[in-house]
């Protein structure tokens, strides 16, 4: 201990989303996400397998149903299986992280009520852990991509751009839900329903062009998830007949609602989290 360097008095402002400084925030976020990921991945023999088996099972079932029973997939899309798998893996990330985040702050009650902990780390760690998992799942996805005979193109390099948007969206939704759940416990139920609706409202099972109706295509592109998914499909599969998000929306201007929802969700999440963060410990 050096006696010379007497630290100055600094005001303590109480808990907040980032309380304790930026560096500590990122250190904690990284550390918690990595530890949690390692725990799931190395903790049990089948740890990682379990997190992969759910999307793969869903993929297998849906692939069978939509290629053998209804035949909407194979008739319209050259690489229906790959499109389906991409969609399922991406959506599983979004659904699992947001669902896990809803209760995350309440689950970490002890830490929130008894330590000085940057509150925002809790939902964001769930998203980051999910992102690690998604990265790993993409190895499997690309194995399928090659297996189904999709040729690599330079647009594959654009995938991270779409993923960044997906992560930001998941982070915004997760943090907003996690603080809302502190006060309103039915958020959890509401969100599972909304997530289910989103699953069908996003072109995962079907291509956007499935309806042969430009109005429905435009409407679908109001959903920011649909925009992201559509663009991933275009970039990975590089099919000339698949419309880009802009084409599906019927012009760049028609993407404005999706952009507005995206930005609105982010602003709302920041606002609500900052508003609630100082009081979480009291409301629990």
């Amino acid at each position: 201990m050096s006696e010379a360097a007497a630290p100055d008095l600094r005001e303590v402002r109480g808990p907040s989303a980032l309380s304790g400084g930026r560096q500590r925030f990122f250190d904690l976020l990284w550390l918690i996400s990595v530890t949690e990921f390692k725990r799931v991945y190395f903790g049990t023999v089948f740890g990682y397998l379990w997190s992969l088996i759910r999307p793969l099972m869903l993929f297998g079932v849906l692939l069978f149903v939509f290629t053998q029973v209804f035949r909407i997939g194979s008739d319209q899309v050259e690489h229906y299986a790959v499109m389906l798998l991409l969609g399922i893996v991406l959506f599983t990330f979004f659904q699992e992280t947001t669902t896990k985040s809803v209760t995350s702050v309440v689950d970490q009650e002890g830490i929130v009520r008894k330590t000085q902990f940057p509150r925002l780390v809790i939902p964001l760690a769930a998203v980051l852990t999910g992102a690690f998992n998604l990265g790993l799942n993409f190895l499997v996805v690309f194995a399928f991509v090659f297996a189904f005979g999709v040729d690599p193109t330079w647009t594959w390099l654009l995938l991270p751009v779409a993923l960044v948007f997906l992560f930001v969206l998941a982070a915004a939704v997760s943090s907003a839900l996690s603080v809302l759940y502190v006060r309103f416990r039915d958020v959890a139920i509401i969100w599972t329903v909304v997530a289910q609706v989103l699953f069908y409202g996003t072109p995962i099972l079907y291509p956007v062009t499935a309806f042969d109706d430009p109005t429905i295509e435009h409407l679908l592109m109001v959903n920011p998830l649909a925009v992201i998914f559509q663009q991933v499909r275009v970039w990975i599969l590089a099919e000339p007949q698949a419309p880009t998000a802009v084409e599906a929306a019927g012009g760049a201007l028609n993407l404005l609602p999706a952009v507005a929802i995206f930005v609105g969700l982010c602003v709302f999440a920041i606002w609500i989290f900052n508003r609630e963060a100082p009081r979480i410990a009291e409301d629990l």
Binding site: M1, E3, A6, P7, D8, L9, R10, E11, V12, R13, G14, P15, S16, S19, G20, Q23, R24, D27, L28, W30, L31, I32, T35, R39, G43, G110, I111, R113, K114, T115, Q116, F117, R183, F184, R185, D186, V187, I190, P278, R279, A281, E282
Partner: protein, 410 residues
């Protein structure tokens, strides 16, 4: 508030006009459904004022005790200092890094190994991840858990957890430590280690805020202590005085409870007219030297006929521990019947073998033949014991030591 600022050491913590109240909704709305069905339900709430504008300074290198009853606002203050709650108004300013220990090991994740937990919690307490890894050895070393560093915490015993948590606290080397009731854990050997660590911290000039119910700890370690009552500072200064006032508050509370029960109230079968400690001349006194006699005198009035009565006093020390019970029939042996309206003055004399400290007397009168309590007054009187050979232990018993020296065989 008369605070003796003996030196011009810079403050480590400066608190000014701190206020905090909680809104307790009369009807808690915890779902959207309810919010929609009854949109105005949550508007009704009562305000609970936990802290009512308190100000104080804690100097650098000071051992500062905070005491107070449950519900006094003590925990709220703690959580405000630890940045768990946000104040309604007022400021807290701090010099340096604060490591809060509201509860030992609260940041531990049972699914992770000790190694992972130490790093994670070290970072939570403000270390960089690299620094936390460097200090890992010292932390597990102090806790004597080197062999278990890769064991998941869910497989730890509670004693091991406490040790790990405590050594983490010691080794993170924060400028200010906020410790809440941690000395009461662990086995005797570890407690000794904690006590040593405290002395070391004190010697190293750390600022330590100690929150505890154990007055002995406050008096032993703290330079100053603050008593909080009803959201205000009731005392700030001498730890001994804070301890005394705290006990008085505690027993006032206990007395009030006793008074509301049937045995202590107006319609109790025996009425308490007075209770006091007296000296050999029958004069009222409050301090008794060790080795002298303790004379407890009570005046009572019987409200009904009794076959026989007996006193049943309990001497309680400052920590609320019953030290000894005094029982004796009233009016001789065999005890005579007592008629309604009779007034009795009963004096009980015991040898004072108690260690130095503050004691309270719970006065009681029992029905001897029928059984049952006729009167029970908590902390009816109190006294202070001074002198005595022992400075540790509750009582100093008369002793006799014999030694036999056997000559060494040639």
């Amino acid at each position: 508030m008369a605070t003796s600022l003996e030196s011009n050491t810079p403050p480590a913590i400066e608190v000014r006009g701190l206020k905090k109240s909680f809104r307790i909704p009369t009807h808690r709305v915890d779902s959207f459904k309810e919010r929609i069905v009854r949109p105005f339900a949550a508007r009704d709430y009562r305000e609970l004022r936990a802290l009512d504008g308190i100000s104080f300074d804690i100097r650098r290198g000071e051992f500062f005790g905070i005491v107070g009853r449950n519900g006094s606002g003590k925990s709220t203050l703690l959580k405000l200092l630890a940045s768990i709650y946000r104040a309604d108004s007022g400021t807290i300013r701090m010099a340096g890094r604060l490591a809060p220990f509201i509860e030992l090991g609260v940041g531990f994740n049972p699914e992770l190994t000790a190694r992972e937990n130490v790093v994670l919690n070290g970072v939570m307490m403000g270390l960089s991840p690299g620094e936390a890894r460097r200090r890992l050895d010292a932390i597990v070393g102090f806790a004597e858990l080197e062999e278990f560093v890769d064991l998941k915490l869910k497989n730890y015993s509670s004693g091991m957890l406490v040790r790990l948590a405590f050594s983490l606290m010691i080794e993170v080397d924060a400028d200010i430590l906020l410790i809440d009731e941690v000395l009461a854990v662990g086995d005797a050997a570890f407690q000794q280690k904690c006590a040593d660590a405290f002395r070391e911290m004190k010697a190293a000039g750390k600022t330590v805020i100690l929150v505890t119910h154990a007055m002995a700890t406050v008096e032993e370690y703290c330079d100053r202590a603050m008593l909080i009552d009803d959201g205000r500072i009731a005392h700030l200064g001498e730890p001994e005085e804070a301890g005394r006032r705290y006990l008085r508050l505690n027993f006032e509370g206990a007395g009030a409870i006793g008074a509301s029960s049937t045995t202590g109230s107006e319609d109790a079968p025996v009425k308490m007219l007075g209770a006091r400690i007296v000296d050999a001349n029958g004069e009222r006194t409050s301090s008794i030297e060790h080795g002298e006699k303790i004379r407890i005198q009570i005046e009572i009035e019987a409200r009904q006929d009794f076959a026989a009565l007996a006193i049943g006093h309990l001497i309680v020390n400052g920590d609320g521990v019953g030290v000894c019970q005094l029982r004796a029939p009233i009016g001789g042996d065999p005890p005579p019947p007592i008629a309604a309206g009779e007034r009795l003055k009963v004096e009980t004399v015991v040898d004072n073998m108690l260690g130095a400290g503050h004691y309270f007397v719970h006065c009681g009168v029992n029905r001897l033949l029928e059984g049952g309590v006729a009167l029970d007054v908590a902390a009816a009187t109190d006294f202070v014991v001074f002198g005595g050979p022992a400075d540790r232990g509750l009582v100093a018993l008369p002793q006799e030591t014999t030694t036999v020296i056997e000559k060494a065989q040639a």
